[in-house]
């Protein structure tokens, strides 16, 4: 695979994640929470956590982010079925279900599929839906939009105090 192709794919997918998100937002996330909460998708939820591990972020958030990925994929014939393919490719690597093996084996199974186009698509879309999720922002103490608070001009844009040199 050429360097050119890899770069192109990476950014096409990044754009895909972006444009999907713009029309989703929190109301969409509520709508897909039903899917996320059925409990039928615990393997995909766990898969999402292994891709972007953050202790302290609830499973429900990973599930919602993955539901966002699924919804975007199903709307596009080129990506519909990608999550099924990932699930099947993970499960095919050992006798028992992927979800039931230990975490080291799970990670190694992911590494075995990480060069697949469907994996890159999932990763790019999940990166968008997960790292734009308000609960993830809260977890990392990123407060989101500052415009309505007048920015940080009077709220600590220059308040760092631990640097060794004062100037």
């Amino acid at each position: 695979m050429t360097e050119l192709y890899t770069t192109r794919r990476r950014f096409m997918l990044a754009s895909l994640a972006f444009s999907g998100l713009a029309v989703t937002g929190t109301s969409f996330l509520r709508a897909t929470a039903a899917w996320a909460n059925t409990g039928d998708n615990e393997d995909l939820t766990h898969f999402a956590r292994l891709l972007f591990p953050h202790d302290g972020v609830a499973d429900a958030v990973y599930a919602e982010a993955m539901a966002g990925v699924l919804s975007g994929f199903e709307a596009n014939p080129e990506t519909a079925g990608f999550l099924d393919r990932a699930e099947a490719a993970l499960n095919a690597q050992q006798d028992e279900a992927w979800f039931d093996v230990d975490e080291a084996a799970q990670i190694s199974a992911i590494k075995n599929i990480q060069d697949e186009a469907f994996f890159a698509a999932i990763l790019g879309a999940l990166r968008g839906s997960f790292y734009y999720h308000p609960a993830v922002w809260e977890h990392i103490n990123y407060p989101g939009s500052s415009k309505e608070h007048g920015g940080y001009l009077h709220r600590g844009f220059d308040d760092i105090s631990w640097l060794p040199e004062s100037n």
């Binding site: 950014f11 998100l21 713009a22 990392i140 220059d158």
Partner: protein
């Protein structure tokens, strides 16, 4: 005030694009009483449309038409990519205008030439551009306020021995000026500036041009091709409006400023029996020599909080590495510029998955970051061409973008990343990531100025060698890339070009 011109009015100058180059040349012409119609493919937002959420704004103003090949992070909106840019406005250095003479030809693949103009010739226009844009540290404007991220950057730079570091040269008002407010440190300036403190042509050049009564902006007007007569002079621009209806605006002269992909596509798509390889392309150079700088990003987890999301996205530059010192193992130089990145972008920049990626976002409030921009040599094979069969929704040939890093670029990036690592580790960084950032927002070279018509597309005024009333007015003009951010040089060249056009008109030559 804003004028409306008839489609068959062939006294107007048609400018394609309303970004840094297009809106500047248009406004400068309108200020001189010259009638201009500006065609902009995107829609016209207001400040009220700007939300502090990068993904939402990318959907509103990003360019998402079909392309094949390397990604370009550019805008389709009134104001063009000045809506998204970070405002850093260094001048190119004297030797960068003589790249071929200074560096030699790096290898058989590079196509370096000297600019057909010198630093001395552009210098007065840099002064005008800095005044127009409100560049901090010039024209009595104070330095930009020092954000947390910049303070870390500066302290780290000084620890490793860098001397030339400051927070000047940003086209974001530190204090109110010319009817625009001072920066409120809202951050993520690439969402668009919600208060207009950052220079964008949407709320500077465009309304200033409208106020003259010599300018009409047509938004949602996608330029398709430039027509010409049997003598080879440009006669008008064919465009599609928001209803999909095609029109032709007649023209006295045409300025093309659509950023490199659209500029190359319009010229190449305007092929005819007289110009079988496209307009202005007897040299075969249209679309070639595409440059996008040596890019890179460094991110570090610092031992204590930085909160780099507070404050202007980019403030402050280390200039120590911008010279040409071949003993470093590469030609040309680079700058380091403090930068802050939203959570998604941290993850996307680092790429991959797992804890090696997520550790940086987990420590989001302790991150410090910088951006690397440096010179990349032109190569014929780095180019924009048109797909032979694929067509997009406008019926236009899909552009194919081919860009690979030259060995010189890779060597420069490695050097810059090593410097960045030393900087942040000197302050006790616990994690460091440095790498390529192939985003394509400094786009140059595909219709370059050249002294010899065989080497490029345009002359020292940005006027096509082949067609006297066809001009290129964006970064496509650059003969070589320099190391610093291109917008100030684009604006300086556009001011200079407008003077040239007005003089030619006064002499009845246009």
């Amino acid at each position: 005030m804003a004028k409306q011109y008839e489609l068959n009015d062939d006294s107007v100058i048609v400018v394609i694009g309303s970004g840094a180059g297009g809106a500047t040349v248009a406004n400068e012409l309108a200020q001189k009483g010259i009638d201009v119609v500006c065609l902009e493919a995107g829609s016209r937002l207001t400040l009220a449309d700007v939300v502090n959420h990068p993904a939402t704004m990318d959907a509103k103003m990003g360019w998402h038409d079909k392309r094949i090949g390397n990604f370009l992070w550019v805008c389709k909106t009134v104001g063009g990519t000045t809506m998204r840019w970070s405002g850093i406005t260094p001048r190119f250095q004297e030797h960068e205008f003589a790249a071929r003479s200074t560096y030699g030809q790096i290898d058989a693949g590079t196509t370096l030439i000297d600019w057909p103009i010198t630093f001395k010739e552009i210098e007065p226009y840099y002064v005008k551009a800095e005044d127009k844009m409100g560049v901090s540290g010039t024209h009595g404007i104070p330095a930009s306020a020092e954000t947390n991220n910049y303070k870390v950057f500066k302290a780290a730079a000084k620890r490793v021995g860098y001397k030339d570091v400051n927070s000047n040269r940003s086209a974001i008002n530190p204090v109110a000026r010319n009817g625009r407010p001072g920066c409120q440190q809202i951050s993520f300036c690439h969402s668009g500036c919600a208060i207009g403190a950052k220079w964008s042509t949407l709320y500077t050049e465009v309304p200033a041009a409208e106020a003259t009564g010599h300018f009409e902006l047509r938004a949602n007007a996608m330029a398709l091709r430039v027509n010409h007569d049997e003598t080879g002079k440009a006669t008008g621009v064919v465009y599609k409006d928001s209803d999909g209806v095609t029109h032709e605006q007649k023209a006295r002269a045409v300025c093309v400023a659509g950023n490199v992909v659209e500029t190359a596509r319009i010229l190449l798509n305007s092929e005819s029996s007289l110009f079988p390889h496209g307009l202005g392309n007897s040299s075969g150079q249209v679309g070639q020599n595409y440059m996008r700088h040596t890019f890179g990003v460094a991110l570090a987890v610092m031992p204590k909080p930085v909160n780099f999301h507070r404050g202007a996205r980019q403030t402050g530059v280390v200039y120590d590495e911008q010279g040409h010192n071949p003993e470093r193992g590469f030609a040309g130089g680079y700058q380091l510029q403090a930068i802050a990145v939203e959570p998604w972008n941290v993850s996307a920049t680092i790429g991959g998955w797992g804890p090696e990626n997520s550790v940086f976002i987990e420590n989001y409030t302790s991150l410090a970051g910088l951006f690397i921009t440096g010179e990349d040599p032109p190569e014929a094979k780095n180019r924009i061409s048109l797909h032979s069969t694929e067509r997009d929704a406008n019926g236009l040939p899909v552009p194919v973008i081919e860009y690979r890093n030259h060995a010189n670029t890779n060597a420069m990036r490695e050097h810059a990343i090593d410097s960045s690592r030393q900087m942040y580790e000197s302050l006790g960084a616990t994690e460091f990531w440095g790498g390529d950032a192939p985003v394509g927002c400094h786009n140059m070279g595909v219709a370059r100025m050249s002294a010899d018509p065989k080497d490029g597309v345009t002359n020292r005024w940005g006027q096509a060698h082949d067609i006297p009333n066809l001009f290129v007015s964006d970064g496509s003009l650059f003969s070589s890339s320099g190391g610093g951010n291109p917008t100030l040089t684009i604006v300086a060249l556009a001011i200079r070009q407008a003077e040239h056009i007005a003089e030619r008109m006064a002499q009845k030559e246009l």
